[in-house]
């Protein structure tokens, strides 16, 4: 029976962890002790077996599929900047809701027979503030949803969009919600509980593609969401990709033809 101390020395000998004197001493013991020699051979054999097992390991394709959104998402935004951004985004949203309400009233007025005909609603993008380093950057000028509910895609440039991350009461932890105006739409996600990924295509300042990213099953009709995207702001550009992007709703009305006549 090999004592514990000798076995540890043998174990370290296998790993080359002994000094020259210790190594010489254990080699001398090995030369005259068959039991020790067998233990050494077994340790080496098992080590080889474990190494073979490790290198033979093949992860399942399902893992690639599960991690794919992370691989496509680039790097996450830093918390400090994210927080600043979300605060800014929230402020924008509050303003937007007020403006939307005003726009709604304006549309009601312009749509009324007394207004002289159907008003045409126009949306103008306002850039997100970019002067402050911590403020969201990367807002794209004139990134504007068009009037066409089913735009034709002409080689659009994809953007990965994450967020906003509103989690309304009653929504299961596994799901998040996308806030559209005052409506919260539950959206299931497959990567943790960090965000919703959408793919946007942008061409000549217009959103020409909008759909949930590959691998994400959405219970909502993507078009219902996408038609209401008016602008996109982002945090940081990394090799031409957004680290994080949030959809915002920031509209102001411009007078339609009927209104211009007024």
């Amino acid at each position: 029976m090999i004592d514990e101390k000798t076995f540890e020395t043998l174990s370290r000998y296998v790993d080359g962890d002994l000094g020259p004197d210790e190594a010489a001493a254990i080699e001398q013991e090995l030369a005259g002790d068959d039991e020790l020699g067998r233990a050494l051979a077994d340790i080496r054999q098992l080590r080889e077996d474990l190494r073979t097992l490790a290198l033979d390991e093949r992860p399942p394709e399902a893992l690639d599929h599960m991690v794919r959104p992370l691989r496509r998402a680039g790097r996450p935004m830093r918390q400090r900047r994210a927080l600043a951004f979300l605060v800014a985004a929230a402020a924008v949203l509050v303003v937007a809701l007020i403006v939307v309400e005003e726009v709604g009233r304006s549309r009601l007025r312009s749509d009324s027979p007394a207004s002289g005909g159907a008003g045409r609603e126009a949306f103008v993008l306002k850039n997100l503030p970019a002067a402050d380093e911590d403020a969201p950057i990367g807002a794209i000028e004139s990134l504007l949803a068009g009037d066409d509910p089913e735009p034709v895609l002409v080689d659009p440039e994809p953007l990965e969009v994450m967020g906003p991350l509103d989690r309304p009461p009653g929504i299961d932890d596994s799901g998040l919600a996308l806030k559209i105006g005052t409506i919260l739409v539950p959206v299931p996600v497959i990567v943790g509980a960090e965000g919703l990924m959408m793919t946007l295509g942008v061409e000549e300042g217009r959103v020409t593609l909008c759909r949930p990213s590959e691998g994400i099953e959405s219970t909502l009709v993507a078009g219902d969401v996408c038609r209401q995207i008016l602008s996109v702001g982002g945090i940081g550009l990394d090799d031409g990709q957004y680290e994080a992007v949030v959809v915002r709703w920031d509209v102001e009305s411009s007078p339609g033809p009927g209104q211009e006549d007024n």
């Binding site: 370290r12 290198l55 991690v67 790097r75």
Partner: protein
Amino acid sequence: MASDEQCAAVIPLQCADALYDASKREAGAGSGLAVTFEEVYTRFRRPVWALARRLTQSEDEALDACQEIFLRIWRGLDGFRHEARLSTWVFQIAWNFLRSHRRSRGRQPIRMESLNDDKVVSIGALRDRAPDAERRVIASEGLDRAEEALGRLAEHHRIVLWLRDGEDLSYEDIATVLDVPIGTVRSRLARARRALRDEVTG
């Protein structure tokens, strides 16, 4: 250091660190991490999966665990600094998650079927004499036996054995991953090897 061709073939951990070191040099001292999540995932999907499989002993659980581990890696990549080796950092995240995951679930180690003692022979001695086909079968049986025996070990023995013998981490790196003194690694590894040998040879 492993060559690019070797890295492409087997993706050992040394290649992952080589990749990281090269990227770090390229980016210059004091810069942030130069490797992307994609590169980290490509290099570490096998080692992380292999570790998760050994510790959870369930493919389904290992899959869920890997997803969470890579999510944590993705989140932490931006804050990673050069004080630690990339492989050590990745294994730390994996180990911390797998350990807490087991505790939260209160799992007991799975007992595998007991070995057939008749098959426990001196594999090394037989290997030299056997024809090729027979040699492969014997080798495969030897690997199965090692795998099953490893599964019967206590978790703290399994992890240290796997990191050292499976993934070839140094004593220093193992000490960092497990957050224990290097002397503990030496003694624990020796006990783990003895326990594994006892399991295999009966």
